[in-house]
Chain length 344, copies 4
């Protein structure tokens, strides 16, 4: 079975692993206060072009999302979010478990607009009885989204402006950030994101690390006591240096972006093959996640050799799946898949 | 200003008040363990025709909703509910504050169907990765709904059957139960509701009491330690007998239902006058809440004398409002309103 | 059975009740925005001599405590409190249910000292790994305490100064405030308390009202969006005017303090009788709660006619009970009790 | 600087690391459903001699504690625990953040007794107003404790019996379990612990793994839907196999216990040297944590070369520190420390 079901089927990029091996028997202090985390913080800040940012390293995405959101909101506030957003759809109510409502905005492709945010804000505040409803307290977006789509610089700028005007911190989930930055047509840099968002993270788990997300807080008012939140939410890794070491390996010599580009290139090849075969897609994605709509008999045939992530039934005879490439995808596996697509 | 904006603009029915006055200087134990609460419990159980039910008295609706829901769900479970449901739309995230997601089902008139419940259940359990999403843990409905609409016996029976099959306790919010029971065309009795639901409450606040909701738990497995939940949620009234006394007054000699019927009759008169005038309605309600759609200029005129509850903008020149009658509505006020409607 | 077990065995003072009767059929807006609440707010502020305070009316003590504490603390902060404090010992974890640890400080008589607060603060901040422990976020005291004891002006001033220096809001639970203010030897006024605390409440439930606590927020930074907290915690009474009306009745013509004084006088008479009989006390109380230590056979005898609140077993043959008087205590009941004490 | 401050200053044992390297580019499913986790589960169950146990792998201790406790308790219940217990003293209120009170029992050496549990249970249930207080819902102990002390088989059996009688699940935190099992004088086996507890975990983070705790649930009634709890608490590692792989390496060929023994032997040598020097200890520990009481001038001298964990000020001129050895402690470092102790 060749796995295209997700971008976390393998371990870590060899350069990440090598640095972990080399430093294995060194002694350091725990909990992320070691020199490796310190150096990794500097690399992240350089990449973001924000000297004053606070950088924290967390193990996984759900943990990062709940910790960040709990740190921003007051108890009666909620998080505006696409209905398809990970915090709304795939985290077992982790946000609600911290006491907060996810305020879902309709979305078909994973994105929301500046206008939707403004409208939600107005709806709350124009209502005379606003203390009877949850107050919007922040905006959560992901880029790339769960559907592989991307925000343009224009779109993110508009969202940022609305958020600023409405005093809603903007939080960007970058679990797959590398794949987005390196996507064909993308016009956003990490520095743009750092400038336009109040807090975001650079995903490691899905881009070459064993695990790890680098949280960047640029808004001064969101920095206070963040380590308490990490600890309380069970996210403070005892051997915290493991996170620093991995991000050093990823951010040195541009590795993070090189391997992201590789995944995208592999995805485009598969996409081309599918398009040539006349297969339609559920979303228009230029990143490492592709959502083709197969005839069920086609899917059955391919599934003998490849594992995909089942997405949704489209009609009586068609289903959409997610095909994921990653930093670890092998060219020969892609070529084999393309041949098998041609033969369908 | 004559208020038709809600059904809690006045104090209590005089017979409720009188009984409070008569018992005022008696000494009783606190926290709902007094003889008045005991007697009221008996009256409630007789009305419900369920000897084995547990009956608790709470002060208000939001408190009742959050206490009941928190008592039923496990931390990773959520409450299925119409998108328009009070717990989803008007309680400032009180349910989420207890850690639970409200799983909203689309609704235009305030009701949900057995099929919607079954579909939501199936969607969760048929998905291989169900531990990544919130597990449906109960069904919340209100009757009458927030939009004045009612479930038929057939509909409630179907919902009850699905809930039973899916092991989802069914919780009915009866904040305006009296108005529903006495509505023209209603075919549900309180005993039916007690039989078909696992827990529900008989609303006092909006039907003649100063405050108070009588929670009836019929499902044996939901009874345990409920008083701990009341206390923890801040709902254990020190002078608990005030709740017992009010429900005795309401349930003796059928007062609760007589005053509910009065409110409905007043509402129908207003409805008739509006219909004669060719005014449309947002929802088809046979209860004490009516939702006419006025031209904005009509509304402006009426608003000089009457207060309504603004509901929604319908189009550029029309708005829907809620007109509420209650046990306390005066016939002369209704007649005056009808005359003013006629003159529009 | 003559009840001395608590100060909430009866209904309301007749002047409170009368005002509720007189206003019963008036129509007002709901949720505490009516003219009666407005007037009551003015009376409270005048009493406190703080024009700029925010005043909110809540139904009960646990609700007030959890709502206020949840409104002040950040998620990783806790409430410093005497080990005997109501929030630590008698509220079924209501504070923890909002996510916060109660940081108990040892106390034998219900009081804590400025030094204990300073020490707890220092212990947290001097520890290098402070993010691994709960950060003190506020100080909760009650006056009178659960044991009937009182803070002197000197003590409260010292506590206030430490709190100010440590940036810890000071919250005073005044469920029995009237009995404290009118106690022999007390040197604190309500205005002193308003000046020295950041938030406190004037208890109505135990001092002449059917229910109700008047929360006074003097610290500007704690005022924001407090009504959201009330609603989310299930404390927003639909017929909110009932709270305003009761506090008007209590605060007009000094009623609140007159009836408090009465309760104290009755308590002193009982105390005298007990002392004459050589009976010792668990705490030295000058308020309406007295904690005599009876021989078990004495207790058995008295318990045939009077109900007390069992407090604790003191040794093999002695037990302490709580004897409560209140605004409603009848002189003849006290005289009868005194006679029966004499006869022991 | 030679670090004796904790048992998580280095990376992983080389055999753990080697297995991670060897499996690095294999593709597996995520979230702990892979064959490595499956195999590790079998090894854990074999070690525990309980075929029917459920085994889950979590990343860290705080996460394990909060996830397990949240999965057991009802909202109004709390966790009985030594006052020194990790969940009470060093987890930033993580348990309270899930809504539960930690019910602290006095302890000087980290242990609690069966009698303390029985007394706490009786105190709750014998009080007539028990719904006003937090109901004990489980017992949390750690072995070794935070102070290096150990339960005997006799003690744990008594605790288990009380817990069983009182219907209180017994949860044992085994973050340093290996060091306890291999301690001189210990008479408990892992199988004993599995038999006597309802749930416990075998700590990897502090015993040779990069991270990871193996949770063993033996009580049937605590197994249901545990994966939902893991996900909601942010503990479901995407590349879950990393946990399985590490526990396979640790549990194969008895590695876990061999390296634990090594740490203990190193600790005993240091202990001997300290005792010869006449230095007293804060607790009597036979595990890898030692708590000597130094004169402050002694401590200052040693601290130039060695880092210890400051524990507490004992008197004006003495302080206790924690000295930790681990699987990674080098013999030459211990010998150097012993020489320097001799020279004091």
């Amino acid at each position: 079975m060749i796995r295209f079901e997700c971008d976390y089927a393998e371990g870590a990029h060899e350069r990440v692993l090598r640095m972990m091996i080399e430093t294995n028997m060194e002694q350091t202090v725990g909990y992320g206060k070691d020199p490796y985390c310190e150096k990794a913080r500097e690399l992240v800040k350089k990449l973001c072009k924000v000297d004053s940012a606070d950088v924290h390293f967390l193990v996984g995405g759900t943990q990062a999302n709940k910790t960040i959101i709990a740190s921003i909101l007051r108890p009666y506030q909620g998080a505006l979010c696409a209905s398809t957003g990970h915090i709304n759809a795939h985290e077992t109510g982790a946000i609600e478990a911290t006491g907060h409502k996810v305020l879902a905005l309709e979305s078909t492709d994973g994105k929301i607009t500046a206008k939707q945010i403004q409208d939600a804000y107005d709806e709350h505040w124009n209502d005379g009885s606003h203390e009877h409803t949850v107050q919007p307290g922040l905006v959560y977006i992901s880029n790339p989204t769960e559907n592989g789509t991307l925000y343009t610089k224009q779109e993110l700028t508009e969202i940022s402006e609305v958020c600023h005007k409405c005093n809603l911190p903007l939080f960007l989930d970058g679990a797959r950030l590398g794949y987005g930055i390196m996507a064909k047509g993308n016009d956003l840099t990490v520095a743009d994101i750092a400038r336009l968002c109040d807090v975001f993270y650079i995903g490691g788990t899905k881009v070459g690390a064993l695990f790890g997300e680098a949280v960047v807080i640029t808004n001064e008012s969101l920095k206070k006591d963040f380590r308490y939140f990490i600890k309380q939410n069970g996210g403070m890794l005892a051997k915290g240096r493991l996170l620093g070491i991995q991000f050093i390996a990823l951010l040195q010599d541009n590795l993070y972006f090189q391997i992201s580009e590789w995944a995208n290139i592999m995805a485009y090849r598969i996409k081309d093959a599918l398009q040539k075969k006349g297969i339609r897609f559920l979303y228009d994605s230029m990143t490492n996640q592709q959502f083709p709509i197969f005839e069920d008999c086609q899917l059955e045939k391919l599934s003998q050799t490849y594992s995909f992530n089942f997405w949704t039934k489209v009609d009586a005879t068609h289903s959409a799946v997610r095909i994921c490439t990653s930093w670890a995808t092998k060219e020969e596996d892609v070529e084999q898949l393309i041949r098998d697509i041609d033969r369908l």
